[in-house]
Amino acid sequence: MTRSRRLQNALAGAAALLCLSTPASAVLTIEVTKGVEAAIPIAVVPFGLEGIGAATANLPAAVIEADLSRSGKFEPLSRGDLPSLPHDLREVQYKEWRLVKAEALVVGRVVNVGNGRYEIRFQLIDVFREKQLAGQKFVVPESRLRKIAHRISDIIYQALIGKPGAFETRIAFVTVRDADAPKPNLLQVADSDGYGAQTILESSHPILSPAWSPDGSQLAYVSFENKRSIVYVQNIRSGEREPVADHAGINSAPAWSPDGRRLALTLSKDGNSEIYIYDLASRDLRRLTRNTAIDTEPAWSPDGGTIAFTSNRPGTPQIYRIAASGGNAQRVTIRAGKYNAAAAYSHDGKSIALITNQGNGFRVGLYSAQDRTVSELTQTSQDESPTFAPNGEMIMYATQSGGRHVLAAVSPDGRVRQTIKLENGVVREPAWSPFNHQP
């Protein structure tokens, strides 16, 4: 890596520190509120177990069932309604599953193969066509059981919905512990269901705007640890990091180009907040906007050709877009409320998730490029930081619920909603990772 010489902030012994700093999260609650029409009835049968405790063996099926239910696209049968407990295709009596109106069936086994490893096998079965739709076998250490369960959910989602699942992905977010803690601000990374949060940065000062590199190996973020906003890029495996924008004024709002080579940034070094593009290899910095108004929150289109951003040129914040190569900016949100900000492109570039205020408070909205309209997706009033799942099927955001700061997610059609409540303080600034990658 050509820039390793610049990694002066790299820390040794990082792994040990990580273990110490893992917060003792107690309970994670996922509440799913969904419209039930068209949800696929599916039976996730508890997996068979060999040489393994029930608690471990039950984990994969429980995670798969929770994933599928959380998506809103499936309606898992309750355990009490399962007519039998097959663990293999050959044990399935199709008639009894048709009677309970299960359209699909997930069966499997967890086998202790020694040396702390487990073999997980699963089969997804079409009850009406009486055939296997998918089946795989994995051998993993116990610590990877959840990960493999999420992968199985992804395979099921692909087979039955026809789109890639995004369960085996991660979210980065900011947690603010009790203000009495010496370093209350945490940048954390967890599984997409909020489980297993690990802290990658602790600070006594605010942390903002985490952004995943397209290969999922790095996070860019804003830290106030030097009492002003500075943008850092951190390798989440090694913990190595370096400042990439430390100019006079604000350094903020990092967004990776789809090719991972550039960061769009908001800097105010030349007067007021403007959008710049920073080339990570050459360190070349190119100014994209020139305006006395606020220009911030850049977001790349999936093809890398366009940058959407927030500007208050018309007097209130609205979404604009500009070619990444430069030129004139065009207003995107017109007659769509007084406040539209924090754009995030969908994976196909056809819509933009944003924060909109159309007189009902700040809500997650969806701008449709085809209709040129913004529709409200939520009914809350303090929504922030919308971020698309890499398959475009859900939008996660930060909001307030019952006086608490929580992460929530909503489908682009507004019909599926979920709330992730972490018990360890204020959570905000979610960023959904790209698809799982090879390390």
């Binding site: 994670l28 996922i30 495996r237």
Partner: protein, 191 residues
């Protein structure tokens, strides 16, 4: 017709740290990859920052500007009162200096002109409404509105620093108009 599902997933602390013992070999029959988050960073870099804390607010509040009256004598009678005002407030989504605060800025500008070597940090803040990044830019514009006026009144640009905390450091924790009004502010921090 809506339906509510609630899942409780108990997170065992042991499971959280299970991956920390190093990278175990994985028998890979089906493209199972190993992916560890092994790093934590920033502890060293941050230690310095947290050691000194963000005590600026308290320090400034407690700092005496007793000599301000003398220093700003050219400004006339009311400067003491005006100089004791170290915070000015802004309208929602606005960085325009409110007319009623101009006298405060003028008094501080006079003081700075008469107190060679004194530096000022103008710290901009926003209320919680709207997006964090927009508020960071908005709060900087507020600080710059004050800086611009001070410079127009003759204070050297080199003596004024602006910093923006956006909505990250509210002074009032409520979620109503009165709290928001207190949080949309620029603080004057003398060095």
């Amino acid at each position: 017709m809506r339906k509510l599902f609630v899942f409780w997933v108990v997170l065992a602390a042991g499971a959280l740290i299970a991956g920390c013992g190093g990278r175990g070999a994985v028998v890979d029959e089906s493209e199972v990859e190993i992916e560890e988050i092994e790093g934590v960073a920033g502890a060293d870099a941050d230690a310095g920052a947290s050691a000194s804390g963000i005590g600026g607010d308290d320090a400034t509040d407690g700092q005496s500007l007793d000599d301000a009256g003398a220093a700003g004598g050219s400004g006339g009678g009311g400067d003491d009162d005006l100089l004791n005002q170290r915070v000015i407030y802004f309208d929602y989504d606005s960085s325009i200096l409110p007319a009623e605060s101009e006298a405060v800025v003028q008094a501080h500008a006079r003081y700075l002109q008469g107190a060679a070597g004194v530096q000022i940090i103008l710290e901009g803040h926003a209320d919680e409404r709207g997006t964090r990044e927009y508020n960071l830019a908005l709060a900087e514009d507020r600080a710059k509105s004050v800086a611009d006026m001070m410079q127009a009144l003759g204070v050297g640009a080199g003596r004024i620093q602006t910093v923006s905390y956006g909505e990250e450091r509210p002074v009032a924790l409520g979620h109503d108009d009165s709290a928001w009004g207190l949080n949309r502010r620029v603080e004057f921090l003398y060095q």
